[in-house]
């Protein structure tokens, strides 16, 4: 049985001292192996590890700087747009203002001109009416004179010297006018 064998094995154990003392060839090869691992670790592994860490640090730093730059550029761009926008609004205001004042002055001008024209037209019409009236009156006067002469001729029966009595009739009419005026 296996347990018996193990017990037997323990009983017939020879000196266990070889378990405690290092084996010489293992000691030598162990030393060689340790030198090799120290060499390999410090020649290859640690430089690679430190390089990876250094690269990562550099990459992080450069990315942060890039982000900072991009942020600055974006802010400058934004400020630029804002400034242009403000200028545009201001200019639009100016244009509106000047258009308004132009329109206002134009309107005033048109009104003034229209008023002046209206006054002129009224004036001219009045003058025309006046001269027409004067002309009509004159014509009427002449008509009346000639009619009076015709009547007088018919009444008198003779042909009066037109030019000789014209003056007489006109004086008579004027007297009539004066009387009616009084």
């Amino acid at each position: 049985m296996a347990p018996d064998l193990l017990i037997l094995a323990a009983e017939e154990e020879k000196s266990g001292l070889f378990l405690i003392l290092p084996d010489v060839s293992e000691l030598i090869w162990g030393a060689v192996s340790f030198v090799v691992i120290v060499f390999l670790v410090w020649k290859f592994a640690m430089p690679a590890l430190d390089r990876a860490l250094g690269d990562r640090q550099a990459a992080v730093v450069s990315q942060l700087e890039e982000a900072e730059d991009a942020k600055g550029a974006a802010e400058r761009l934004r400020d630029d747009y804002q400034r242009r926008l403000d200028e545009g609004v201001q200019r639009a205001d100016q244009i509106m203002e000047s258009a308004r004042s132009d329109a206002e002055s134009l309107r005033q001008e048109i009104i003034d001109r229209a008023e002046a024209e209206a006054v002129q037209i009224t004036e001219r019409a009045r003058a025309e009416a006046e001269s027409e009236r004067a002309r009509v009156l004159e014509e009427a006067r002449q008509e009346i004179t000639s009619l009076s002469l015709d009547i007088a001729e018919k009444v008198v029966g003779t042909r009066i010297d037109a030019s000789g009595h014209q003056e007489l009739v006109e004086r008579y009419i004027r007297e009539l006018e004066r009387e009616t005026a009084e």
Binding site: L5, L6, E13, P22, D23, S25, I37, D55
Partner: protein
């Protein structure tokens, strides 16, 4: 009658020493233990080198593991113990920790199942190296007063020096390296024997009493002990490295 059947399944040790008796299989005294040393050396190097070989901004998963572990040894063990001068001793501490880790973990590595540190060679070798290192550091820092300071603790009455000096001599220069080596070696040999006992028992019951209950009990123990031995393997590598750092620190600040 039953022994040949068992022998076909498991290798029956004629003696418990058999678990640690490794005759040379190649010239120059190269036995299986030496071959495992080579394997551990290669594994340690590949573990530390391959994941970080190509520098990447976003590291691979293994790269993160390696960086974290190296930083742990660098900061958690070396710098926290030794202080600002710790970088000078990383050459020893970093390779030592990872090499011991792999040598220890071979205890539970499938198809290997043998902790190289359960042989005295490597614990003794490294303990000797640690002894040389901390004595050298002390002598270099403080000259011969290092010996004086390490033998005479401050505030001890003169009459007691007769007693204190031999104790300090023994504890610092003899027991320190021996305990360092034996702690590692004994932990690993004990774990190896435990695992061997429970796995051999499992195999024996499996062959002789193929009832589920019979072999399931030692198997359950074996599994639990395997998990425990993973913990021990890591812990012993850590303790060995940490004590090395502690000894170096005590040589640097020997006056305290």
């Amino acid at each position: 009658m039953t022994v040949p059947v068992l022998a076909q399944v498991v290798e029956v040790p004629s003696n418990v020493n058999h678990l640690f008796d490794w005759p040379a299989v190649l010239p120059f005294g190269i036995n299986r233990v030496v071959l495992l040393m080579f394997l551990a050396t290669l594994a340690t190097f590949l573990f530390l080198y391959l994941p970080v070989r190509t520098p990447r901004v976003v590291p691979s998963k293994m790269g993160v593991v390696v960086e974290t572990l190296v930083n742990f040894v660098r900061n958690g063990i070396a710098r926290d113990t030794i202080g600002p001068e710790s970088a000078k001793y990383e050459w020893l501490l970093i390779p030592m920790f990872f090499w011991l880790l792999f040598l220890n973990l071979f205890e539970i590595t499938p198809l290997i199942h043998f902790p190289v540190t359960s042989r005295m060679a490597i614990p003794a070798l490294l303990a000797g190296l640690v002894w040389v290192t901390f004595v050298f550091v002390g002598l270099k820092k403080h000259g011969l007063s290092y010996i004086k300071h390490s033998l005479i603790p401050p505030g001890v009455p003169k009459a007691l020096l007769v007693l204190v000096i031999p104790i300090e001599l023994l504890s610092t220069f003899l027991i320190r390296p021996i305990s360092l080596a034996v702690r590692l070696f004994a932990n690993m040999i004990a774990g190896h024997i435990m695992l061997a006992v429970f796995f051999l028992t499992t195999a024996s019951y499996f062959v002789f009493e193929p009832k589920v209950v019979a072999f399931a009990i030692p198997l359950a123990f074996a599994i639990v002990i395997t998990a425990f031995e993973i913990f021990v393997a890591v812990l012993q590598a850590f303790i060995f490295t940490l004590l090395t750092a502690v000894y170096i620190e005590s040589s640097i600040n020997v006056e305290h």
